[in-house]
């Protein structure tokens, strides 16, 4: 599967390992360790899907989501968080996130959601 993903998570160990695993499955992944990093990275290259943590120091996930949806409405955002707050999940979906997943996640589930997101963005074109 060929697609480009931006993984945003302040847990570097988690982000790098997940990125490597996705790479092994043919998904090219850029990693950003903060919201600010993510927005900078987006100005260089635009992925099809962003995997976004909600709780991060500095700019929080929902704010990043809002900016992405505002500047790059075609990018699909999958929220991936350790915090199971329904209100945040609902808020995320309201702001236009594609889905909401909880850590730890099975890689197969994640890839399935990424595929769904990609096909959705393709349908929207």
């Amino acid at each position: 599967m060929n697609c480009k993903v931006l993984l945003v998570d302040d847990e570097k160990e988690f982000a790098s390992t997940l990125a490597e695993r996705l790479d092994l499955r043919g998904i090219s992944v850029d990693v950003a360790n903060s919201g600010e990093d993510a927005l900078r990275s987006l100005s260089n290259s635009v992925p099809e899907v962003v995997i976004l943590d909600l709780m991060m120091p500095g700019m929080n996930g929902l704010a990043v989501l809002e900016r992405i949806k505002q500047d790059f409405p075609r990018i699909q955002v999958i929220l991936l968080t350790g915090m199971g707050s329904v209100s945040e999940g609902v808020e995320g979906l309201r702001l236009g996130a594609f889905d909401y997943l909880m850590k730890p996640v099975h890689i197969e589930d994640l890839i399935a959601r990424i595929k769904d997101a990609v096909s959705k963005s393709e349908r929207e074109v």
Partner: protein, 575 residues
């Protein structure tokens, strides 16, 4: 405003029970203390009132009883004095109207005596005594002519006072008599004395006219203690009874004393002004104060009746009061425990969310690292001990999954479920839930018994949540029963607002200690696979749905859960 400061300190102490005294003893003490206090504030004024009334009535009644005696004594004394004064005046008239010569003439004197006896009763004789005390002439039954009285006490007394009334003496025909004498000094300076004897039958008539009852005595007594008239109880005429003489008083007076027989009596009396007589009326005290004694016993009866009514009312009232207090205390305690429980749930919920989040992140790292290891091993077919490592990684990811399940349940508990209301049939939901457990029931030969109300009203509630509640309880029931045990369920239309669902198992049951804690988060008796969240979540859901959950259990006798769900949902209205 603090009313407590108006309560006197000892009473305040009575109302304060030390905190360490709890349970039935505390309420017994409260009951005792309130009773004491109420007795004090009701019985003391009552007793005071009774005492004051007692004294007031006593003095009022005494006055009322005594004044007629006084009046009677006064009236009779006047009658006596009138009688004596009258006789004295007659004798004085004779002494003044006739000359010495007239009176010295026995013929004339006899005529005067005859007329006198016609006009005035009681005269026994009449005589003239000259200034030297010698009887000059005499008309009457005795032969007193020539008798010399010069040496007798009364003769000297008469010369000083000019009139004289003697004490009673036994005279002619054994009748008691008195002597009335008048000393006359004529214009020419001659002096003579007219002396008459009167029998005292008239005295008895006067006493008889007092209209006394049989237990009351009245008599005349002389100042030197000799009875002048017959007494009912104290002797005959001329008996000496100096012990009867009351203290001197010319006004009618009353004294209380014990008479010679020891009887309590009231003595009304008055001294005569112009003679040595004392009129005495003696009444037994019991007789006089009969009205008072009646009143006293009535007063006592009313007092005792009042006390009994107060005691009865106080005891009943206090019992009701303290029972109400106990009930309200228990209700408050229950509400307090519920609030505490809810509070505990919510704070544990917050803690759980925090913990879950903190654990989820490192868990995710482990998961990815292990996943990557697996990826790398799978990609390299030359990897030494490939199968063993794959097995190890598999074990890691399985453990991660287990942890994830726990943290997800923790979070589920923490976020307190959103409610989705629909109209549903509880029987249907129950049967649906049972279908999840059919296999296990079959496998373990557990007998399922259903008593579902046929026309159970449909209720507005959350299907998923109710299912979870049923599932949690059924899981516990299945865990509690042995293979071949029974789990029975029933539904019924409880009342206007609620439907009831019961789950009864014949499993191991629970001790009271366990029962107390089963709705608390993280409390579990399952050694493996128990998070201790199941019943806590169940409790939370039932409460959130506006229902009630109750549990009854005894070790070895199984467990019974009762759930009451409202027919209509507030949540539904809001959403």
């Amino acid at each position: 405003m603090n009313l407590r400061k108006f309560i006197p300190a000892p009473c305040r102490d009575l109302l304060e029970i030390p905190e360490e005294i709890q349970g039935p003893r505390r309420y017994a003490m409260i009951r005792r203390n309130i009773s004491i206090l109420m007795f004090l504030i009701t019985l003391v004024p009552l007793a005071l009132m009774a005492l004051i009334n007692y004294h007031q009535y006593q003095s009022a009644l005494k006055d009322e009883v005594l004044s007629p005696i006084r009046v009677l004594v006064n009236k009779t004394k006047h009658s006596f004095e009138l009688f004596l004064g009258n006789r004295l005046a007659t004798v004085r008239f004779i002494a003044s109207a006739y000359t010495y010569e007239d009176l010295a003439n026995e013929k004339k004197l006899n005529r005067i005596f005859r007329v006198l006896k016609q006009e005035f009763d009681g005269f026994v004789d009449l005589g003239l005594i000259d200034a030297n005390g010698v009887q000059v002439s005499y008309a009457g039954p005795y032969d007193l002519k020539g008798k010399n009285y010069a040496n007798q006490g009364w003769f000297e007394q008469l010369k000083v006072n000019s009139v004289y009334i003697s004490d009673v003496f036994m005279g002619y025909r054994r009748f008691p008599h008195v002597v009335v004498a008048v000393y006359h000094l004529s214009d020419s300076g001659e002096a003579w004395i007219v002396r008459a004897t009167i029998d005292t039958r008239r005295f008895d008539e006067l006493i008889g006219s007092m209209g006394l009852d049989t237990r009351t005595d009245a008599f005349l007594i002389s100042r030197n203690g000799i009875l002048q008239t017959q007494s009912k109880f104290y002797g005959n005429v001329l008996d000496e009874r100096p012990d009867l003489i009351p203290p001197a008083s010319y006004e009618p007076a009353i004294v209380e004393r014990n008479d010679s027989t020891g009887k309590e009596v009231l003595v009304g009396y008055a001294y005569f002004n112009r003679s040595d007589f004392i009129l005495m009326v003696v009444k037994p005290k019991a007789e006089v104060l009969k009205a008072w004694y009646t009143l006293k016993s009535e007063l006592l009866l009313v007092f005792i009746g009042g006390v009994m009514v107060i005691v009865f009312v106080v005891i009943r009232l206090t019992r009701v009061l303290v029972e109400r207090l106990q009930v309200s205390d228990e209700k408050r305690e229950l509400a307090y425990r519920e609030v505490q429980h809810t509070h505990k749930l919510s704070s544990i919920g917050r803690l759980a969310a925090g913990v879950a989040h903190e654990v989820n992140n490192p868990l995710a790292i482990i998961n990815e690292k292990a996943g990557l290891m697996k990826d790398l091993i799978q990609l390299n077919s030359e990897f030494p001990q490939r199968e063993k490592f794959l097995g190890l990684v598999q074990a890691i990811t399985a453990s991660v999954d287990r942890c994830r399940n726990i943290t997800h349940r923790l979070l589920g508990f923490a976020k307190r479920m959103e409610v989705q209301i629909e109209v549903l049939d509880v029987n249907e939901v129950l049967q649906e839930t049972l279908s999840f457990l059919e296999k296990e029931a079959l496998h373990r030969n557990i007998k399922i018994s259903l008593h579902l109300a046929k026309d159970l009203p449909r209720i507005a509630s959350d299907r998923g949540q109710i299912q979870q509640v049923f599932l949690n309880i059924l899981n516990n029931a299945f865990a509690a029963v042995k293979d071949g045990g029974t789990v029975s369920m029933a539904t019924w239309d409880k009342d206007f607002n609620l439907v009831g669902i019961s789950f009864q198992d014949d499993g191991v049951g629970m001790s009271e200690g366990t029962l107390k804690h089963i709705f608390e988060p993280f409390f579990t008796t399952k050694k493996v696979n128990g998070t201790g969240l199941g019943l806590s979540i169940t409790y939370g859901i039932v409460k959130k749905l506006g229902g009630e959950i109750e549990v009854f259990s005894k070790p070895g006798q199984g467990t019974r859960f009762l759930i009451f769900l409202p027919k209509t949902s507030k949540e539904g209205v809001e959403s």
